[in-house]
Symmetry: C2
DNA sequence: ATCGTAACGGCACTGAGTGCCACTAGCAAT
DNA sequence: ATTGCTAGTGGCACTCAGTGCCGTTACGAT
């Protein structure tokens, strides 16, 4: 491919006589251009480095791997989420807090729609990138689960409930994100996410305590309904719905 | 590292003058031995091939990558799950079917506890293996979600509910699997999984219809309880628990 | 015994990622 | 202005995963 290159020790041919601090950005831009041009796998690090006007070695100083160019600063984002959860009101409903955290994560995508859309296009097509993204999502889920474990501590099946609820919230987030991406960034994702997390919270809070502030008053309720379900099924549901209110 | 090797064209030194059909198994055994001995990353494919008495090239004929030795036949397992779901009773409760599918997956681990334990040890320590496993779990989750999407089709928020429920079931499965692995294979994982999926099904079925066969009879229920929850909260829960029975 | 096929081993090659080192731009102290 | 230090950089050589190609060999069928 290279025709008659490599004669003199390369007099820093193209651009950027000596990169300032935009080196990282220059590499990222060049890389994404190349990826869009000729695909991820067909693009070598050498090509990226040359297009960015830096040495191949410098590329790996700014990005641990070729995949990392596509997911910049995922670690920092995760750290922000951890911080957000640690600073959350300890008395607030745990699932509500998680919903806010999910919205925060979603916000990171919404901030730069074009980038998010391009990235999703890449991840859809390249298996290794897809795997990397899934692994990164899993890290968020672990953080969520850890938070819930702490909040649920002492309750029966705390770990199970934490794991399931964290997975549910993440799934809701991912679902909304996918919809937003498919809509080309037009969807009101924040509203959709709130609706989704509300549904999740409703379903889980109906069965499991999630730490909402308890009331001291008491209540006697009489309900009468007409339904096509069998008496047994209705009784089962009512009994279950009430059981956890007793605690 | 290699001392004075490579003189004659290698007279097939060690073992297995010419592998029968146990070549794959021989490679896997040799690989896992080496991994346990000196770690995953520190073991090269050459070492594995030599220990197995085969050529380096043959290794890659049986395993697509070094990681693949640790996860044999994951694709086939996934296909079995797909088959199981496709052959499931279309009238059965969808979450119950998913619970059975999860138990089937869990069964694959329970079948060979020693292998599962060793593998989990490896995946815990090696990031690349961990990522690979997460990606593989995600494939199951996608299959689950696809099944639920088909079952929920037509209902409001079908896709959201499918995604969340699939994630919940997978999370329940993973939680039980982790517990079982931590217990060293002693835990009654099947019972624990049934308990876990029951909880998930209970929580979600209380809110969302999951396709359980409807009865034709009717029922009028009167319930009276004493609870520390506020009247509003009780009413909300009861109303929600009953609402979906109406449909 | 011979032929055909499929598996095998060796070889060479690409490309990712790493360690090492020499070079240089920029800055501070004198 | 000169000197000296430091940090960023680029080149080089190396390891190792993974792939394509091809000659060879074991084995079953006839």
């Amino acid at each position: 491919m290279s025709e008659a290159v490599a004669a003199a020790p390369k007099p820093r041919s193209g651009r950027t006589p000596h990169g300032r601090r935009k080196v990282r950005s220059a590499i990222a831009v060049a890389a994404l251009e190349k990826f869009a041009e000729q695909g991820f796998e067909a693009t070598t690090v050498d090509q990226i480095a040359e297009a960015a006007g830096v040495g191949r070695r410098t590329f790996f100083r700014y990005f641990r791997s070729k995949e990392d160019v596509v997911f910049p600063g995922h670690d920092e984002r995760l750290a922000e989420v951890v911080e957000l959860l640690e600073g959350a009101d300890p008395d607030a409903d745990a699932l509500l807090v998680l919903g806010e955290a999910a919205e925060f994560v979603l916000g990171m995508y919404l901030e730069e729609p074009e980038v998010s859309l391009k990235r999703s296009e890449l991840t859809r097509q390249v298996p290794s990138l897809r795997d990397k993204e899934i692994a990164s999502i899993d890290r968020y889920q672990r953080v969520f689960a850890r938070y819930l474990r702490a909040r649920f501590a002492g309750q029966p099946d705390a770990e199970l409930h934490a794991a399931v609820a964290a997975a549910a919230v993440v799934a809701a987030h991912n679902h909304v994100l996918r919809q937003w991406l498919r809509s080309g960034g037009e969807l009101d994702a924040r509203a959709a996410l709130r609706h989704a997390t509300d549904q999740v919270a409703e379903a889980l809070a109906g069965q499991w305590p999630t730490g909402e502030s308890e009331q001291d008053d008491e209540a006697v309720v009489v309900a009468a309904v007409r339904t096509s379900a069998s008496a047994g099924v209705v009784l089962k549901h009512v009994r279950e719905a009430l059981r956890d209110l007793e605690r």
